[in-house]
Symmetry: C2
Subunit: 205 residues, 2 copies
DNA sequence: AACTATCTGTTAACTAATTCACAATAAATT
DNA sequence: AATTTATTGTGAATTAGTTAACAGATAGTT
């Protein structure tokens, strides 16, 4: 892992990789910065700068060798070991996001999912869906360190406390509640309504 | 609407409003910048600056009057008329996002949803779910100008072309495909995998 | 009435992110 | 061999976003 990459660069590197994985690099093994930039609707200088930051160099004429680039992005942003993710709340949203993991061969792995006490335990996409009462124990046991929260706002505070106690270090939060966590825990909030309201503002001719 | 607000400010204003709507302002009608900032985990100067940009002033001692602030945020970022949103793809993800509208009284309204030819038309949360073959016609007819795309990557290019032709001006894109649209169309991409990989990077002790 | 404490509004400083612009390079073409 | 063309790598410039700092205001306190 390469230290001190800017957050936006990390996010873009992840995007480059996903884009390149679905690119026909068997036939076309090289790609130019402007081509990749175009696919992602960003500036070519941006691509070159990001790759510079991870020390990946291309050929002045052929461009970047895709297969090698995919590997180097991995070295730059992935952890050595698999990282385990817990999903808390497996409603419509949780299901949709958890499913997205199937199409992806990253270092991230859905290690457990949880839902309400009242509902029976099930097998969800080869992963067990536990009763939330077992959450703390399971997270500890399995050494899970990332969590996706997709449950009704009401329970969020309590749940957050539990999972942070159990050792979770990063949370992707889909509720509109803002989480109370210690400094050391990294939270990424995502609220679709604010994205839509932003769209609405910027498209008002 | 107040012109030329920075994108991040628009997004934060939307967040302030949602947070304030769930705040007990009947009992506590005023709020200080640092309190609101704390609830959203941001810097108090940020709150003050954003409110300055929309020309909203508070009381030096009491703080900001919440009910008025909610209204002024509306004046700053909402359009006069209701904006109609179409959902294209009503799988797990589409359903989850569309449902989120129920809990929200913004100027945005789900006007139609669409899904594949093979599936029957249904009523989804008081909104009709049409066959995608009627999409262009319906979007034109209902003057829909925002769209949320949550369908398999395969069909995205074709669908994008159709909806842009039909008059859509802003798209919230959940697929990992990057959309080909004219300059005038505002696209907001969201890819959860890259957010998770970012989490993973920044929590690797 | 003077003093203290606190909070807003705003400027200025700072930091991060993006884009420009061009030297260096080398393939392709004349 | 000289010229043209295209592309990388990168310093510098630019732009956007965030935070610090503080004057001015005023309620509360001594
Ligand atoms: N960020 C966004 O823009 C966005 C979009 C859509 C939904 N959401 C939010 O995501 C959340 C989930 O949405 P959804 O449509 O999937 O809801 P849903 O009702 O379909 O599912 C909720 C799930 O959470 C589980 N759950 C409830 N309480 C729980 C608890 N205490 N512990 C563990 N599991 C619990 C339930 O078993 C259920 O599976 C809601 O808060 C919703 O507001 C956010
Ligand atoms: N951005 C993210 O991080 C993220 C997360 C989860 C899912 N996704 C993506 O969102 C998409 C949907 O995910 P999902 O779990 O809801 O899938 P899903 O299979 O549950 O639902 C897909 C829906 O799209 C509809 N559909 C398919 N082809 C269509 C077409 N040509 N026109 C109109 N409708 C069509 C189907 O009828 C179905 O309702 C997928 O592309 C998935 O990869 C993205």
């Amino acid at each position: 892992m390469i230290e001190n990459l800017p957050p936006n660069t990390v996010e873009r590197l992840s995007n480059y990789r996903r884009k390149l994985l679905s690119y026909p690099f068997q036939e076309k093994p090289f790609i130019h910065s402007h081509r990749l930039a175009h696919l992602l609707k960003i500036n070519p200088a941006h691509v070159r700068r990001d790759l510079m930051l991870i020390g990946f160099t291309g050929d002045v004429h052929k461009g970047y060798e895709i297969e090698k680039l995919i590997i180097e992005i991995g070295k730059a942003i992935d952890c050595q070991h698999k990282r385990k993710v817990a999903f808390i709340g497996i409603g419509d949203l949780g299901r949709a996001v958890a499913e997205a993991f199937n199409h992806d061969d990253s270092k991230l792995e859905v290690a457990a999912t949880f839902r309400l006490t009242a509902e029976p335990e099930i097998q969800f996409q080869n992963v067990h869906c536990y009763n939330v009462s077992k959450m703390k124990q399971i997270i500890r046991q399995k050494k899970i360190d990332l969590a996706v929260i997709a449950l009704p706002n009401a329970d969020v505070d309590e749940i957050t406390k539990l999972i942070v106690d159990a050792g979770v270090k990063g949370i992707l939060n889909f509720t509109s509640a803002h989480l109370k966590v210690p400094e050391t825990v990294f939270v990424e909030n995502y609220d679709m309504m604010s994205k839509l309201e932003k769209l609405s503002y910027f498209t008002n001719e």
